[in-house]
Amino acid sequence: MEIAEELAKQQKAISVAEFFEKNRQILGFDSAPRALITCVKEAVDNSLDACEDAGILPDIFVQIKKSGEYYLVIVEDNGPGIVPQEIPRVFAKLLYGSRFHTLRQSRGQQGIGISAAVLYSQLTSGKPTRVISKIAPDRPAHYCELLINTAKNEPEILRSEEADWERPRGTRVELEMEGTYVRSRRQSVFGSLKSAAIVNPHARITLVEPEGNMVVFERATESLPKKAYAISPHPAGIELGELIKLLRYTDKKKLRVFLKETFSSIGAISAQELCSRAEIDPEASPTGLDHEQAKRLHSAFKAIKVKSPPVDCLSPIGEELIKAGLEKEFRLDYIATTVRPVSVYSGNPFLVEVGLGYGGELEKESRVEILRFANRVPLVYQQGACAITHSVESVSWKNYSLGQPTGSGVPVGPAVLLVHIASTNIPFTSESKDAVADMPEILAEIDLGLKEVARKLRRYLSRQSILSERREKEEIIRKILPRIAKKLSDVLDREEPDIGPVVARIMGNLLVSRKVERENGQLSVKILVENHSDLLRSFKLHELLAEQADSITPEARVIPLGDGYDHHWKLSLAPGQKATLSYRIACRDASNGDASSAGAKMKEPVVEGLDAEIVTGARVI
């Protein structure tokens, strides 16, 4: 026998199950703490997907129990349930699922996740996975015990029988596995469920931890997210190989029809234009095109402009619910959100949503927490490898009032960032779905979204600083200055000093102060008006006197009133400018009292035409 023939004998197909048995890190089961997180995450994702498809508000119960040297993971939902004959394949066959062949946003895509958890469980504990599911209140529940036959990638059913279950409908899965339960970090079952609760504000998630401690992530809304519909592929950015595959396997007879029916956003006119650009007969059979023609068609795709893909294949969280989700899990002073329009990478529509929470109880000096989500699934591991992190790092946060000690990198400050990418096909860097790949179109959209919320934050903060400056001044004036004046009078045993002029100066107010002196049996009155603000102030100043005054400088208009005379000056003062007004008036009670008591009897000067809070020392009308 030839060597090649010898070797050929050893060649044999590898089942996917066997492959993943040896490469568990690809699926996210590479460490003991992580195995538990991934298992819970996969089961919860399935539950959320199922509930959404069925239009049910999810109510998910997660329990982690110590069971000898293993952990028992229980995940239970109120979803539509699974029909008995499907249960074994859903849980115990890899690459079996309902979503791989459709273009629509969902959490799960390949049909690996939960079966991988089952595989991991049987590898580490040797125990079968127990599933109970019920599809309607009046139908019996069905109970299964399952293992995966790794050589064949087929389920092995140990038990399958009808059972009693108190829930009206839903699914419960129990897996026993090796693991380590951690709590404190963000990379924990608790942290990953908390993140999931933020982007799924319509879900109630209950977690019972091994020590019996129960946490409920309550729902923030009663309305389900918009349902995502399946769409056809979009022509933008489709790859040549993909196009050739579509051409070869289509049942359409004419290229024109093929283009119109196979792709979204291509109508009769665009189909015609594509054909003429590629110099191919629109009536030609798609299956008959050679490689050269396919190539020309592919470049025609790039040359023409087609409209954006339809949005209804995507289910964004929406600005309102991002806000509700952040509010639910953090104490914040301010939240900015944005939803970017739908865009396309490699023929896949996607959109980016960004939320930024600021202030409240967030740490002021630590790095900003980045909450990454892809199709509403929290991404917990490999933050450094993710397009979201890379976009965050490349923004100049210093321009937007957050710290960035080295000029680039994750910003520092009391903020939390939430970035959600929704797409019919998220380009993950690996099958464990930890990080989104750096597609230029995606990076650009995240960047725009981040800058949008950052601009909103900057506006908010500059408004705040004006307000806080005003508040600070108020505190000085209301609380501190009067006390200093009081203490000074205690120490010196003198009258309390008049703090009015200083108040006007600090507040940037218009200050009116009047001095009255006795002179030859008359009262000589001087009014000093100072503008301490940085704006031009134009107003009228009135003196209401019982009699008409003499020697008025500058001249004032005098209007007799019923019980006296209104003297008024029209004034206009530039910032920092002063004006002195003076007049003399007969002294009524010359016999007793001094000038200041005479002054005290006079009515306060009146300012007309300005706001009360910017005037000190006069009444405002």
Binding site: I476, R483, I484, V491, L492, R505, I506
Partner: protein, 367 residues
Amino acid sequence: MQSSEDKIEKSRCAQEKLTGLAATLYNQFEQGIVPHISLPSRTKANIEFSSKDDVWIYGDQETTRSVKTVRGAKTLLKTVHLAELLIKEHLQNNRGSTLREIYYISENWDIAKFHEQAESDRLIEDLEIVTALHREDFHVRPEEDGASVFGPLRLKEKTRRGEKEMHCQEDVGEAGYQIPFNVDNIEFLSHDASMVMAIETGGMYARLIENGFDEQYNAILVHIKGQPARSTRRIIKRLNAELNLPVVVFTDGDPWSYRIFASIAYGAIKSAHLSEHLVTPTARFLGVQPSDIVDYNLSTDKLTEQDMQALRSELTDPRFAAPYWDKQIRLQIDLKKKAEQQAFAGKGLDYVTKTYLPERLGEMGII
């Protein structure tokens, strides 16, 4: 030593100065000027050498505290509260409080209450600067004990229970004579000393007494207990100025100990306003010098990152801008090592008194 007339005069002067400060603020209110006080800024960048007294004092840079900001306004409010306390409780009643007590007294001052003792301490220093007086003049005492002194010195202390006379070898226990916080209550009567040695650690102080170093070399030993208190620096200054004795400072060989020496010989950045009163410009550094580590092959510890930083910061400290210090500090940065005073014990308990100190003092021309 102070007479009682002196005391009354001083108290009157302190009251006048504090009242004057309040009057300044009062008049600022009346004139519509935003109330403020100006102080020299108390940073490394603002100390300069006064050739008149050979000490480091504050330069011309000033900071202004005004009521324009909440912080400034609160500080001024606290200042006025404090002035009232000092005038009405201390000076008018001839009573006093410790720094710590003042911090607690402020509990009743509502928004003017001090957040920590460091804040009230700083404010009292500010008042010293503004009034050109010392906290003792306001009857404010430190909490901590002053230094201990052991050596051929006879003195008289005026205490609340009458005058006490004692000899700092014959009339004291092994720990020596404990100096009072107000060193100006002491009068030196007579002495047989030829030098003053200020010693950082209690261990070395006790070693020198046990080995009879004070008798053999007629040394007045002063245990400075770490960073020296004002009273410690004051007694060293008085021993130097009044008895005309040379002062040497013997500390560990690390950057923090050089700062102890600096505060004795050059003044502290925090209290440069008191330099003329507290500083002994002719004090000399005996050791442990970085070069001793090499010359005496001492056992050492590695310098920590903080130590290295402290050394680098000393290279830019104007007080250390002398060729001697430049050479020693750079040598230590190269060695990356520090040595304690006790390192000499590795060569025998008598090594320090029989070999190291006689050699160093000889080199320095003191014996």
